[in-house]
Symmetry: C2
Subunit: 120 residues, 2 copies
C-alpha cells in the first residue's frame, strides 16, 4: 500500500485524489517517502484545522489566501507566500480567513494519512 | 547565526530577503529548523537549476509555471500543483519552461544555504 506511493518521484496533481480532512477541508498527498511527506490542503472560507499535536515536525507554505495560525500560545495571520514551522509535539491549528490553500510538509511521514488514504 | 532563524515559527515573506541562486534564479529561506527546511525558489523563463546531488532528501511543490524536471535518468514536465520527490544522493535538476516558482523542502536543513544567507 504505502510501498507503492512511497517511491513516487514525479507526482502529477491530476493523478492524486482529494480526500476529506474534515468539514470544508480537503487534502491531497503529494511527494513523499517514509521520512518526508508533502501534503496539499485546501480550505473553504472559515474552515478550521483544529488545534492538535503530533510528534512529526512540520513546515507549511501558505499557497493561496489567508489563515489565522496558532502555534503554542502564539497566533498570527499569514498570507500567501508566508510560512510557518511547528516543532514536534507543539499544539497548532489554523482557521481559513478566505478560501485558501497550504502545503504541509512532515518529517517523518504521516503514516496515519497513508493508512487512511484511498491512493493505490 | 542560524540559531536565530532556526526557531522562526512564523515567517512573513516580506521579512525574508530573496538571495541569488544562480543566473535567473532567486531563493528565499522560509520556515525551518536544523532537520527540516523550506525554501521558495523563483526562476526566470529558461533559467536552470543544474543537475546536482546532496545527501538531504527533498520534496518539491511546483507553485507557479512549468518545469522540465530530471531525477536520476527520468525526465518529466511538471506544472503548478504537481510535486516531485528526490531521495538522498540522487542527481536532479530543473529547467523553467516559463517564469515559474517552486517550494523545496529539505531534510535535514541545507546548512550550506544558511551559511551563505544574509539573514540575521
Amino acid at each position: 500500500m504505502s510501498s507503492v506511493h512511497a517511491y513516487s518521484r514525479f507526482v502529477a496533481a491530476e493523478d492524486r485524489v482529494w480526500e476529506s480532512g474534515g468539514a470544508g477541508v480537503q487534502r491531497q498527498i503529494l511527494g513523499h517517502d517514509d521520512l518526508l511527506m508533502m501534503v496539499r490542503v485546501r480550505f473553504e472560507k472559515d474552515a478550521i484545522g483544529a488545534v492538535h499535536t503530533h510528534p512529526h515536525r512540520q513546515v507549511t507554505f501558505i499557497e493561496t489566501g489567508s489563515f489565522a495560525v496558532q502555534i503554542g500560545d502564539d497566533k498570527k495571520i499569514l498570507h500567501a507566500g508566508d510560512s510557518f514551522f511547528v516543532p514536534p509535539d507543539i499544539p497548532h491549528g489554523v482557521v481559513a480567513l478566505s478560501q485558501a490553500s497550504l502545503v504541509d510538509v512532515f518529517s517523518p511521514a504521516r503514516q496515519d494519512f497513508l493508512n487512511a488514504s484511498s491512493l493505490p
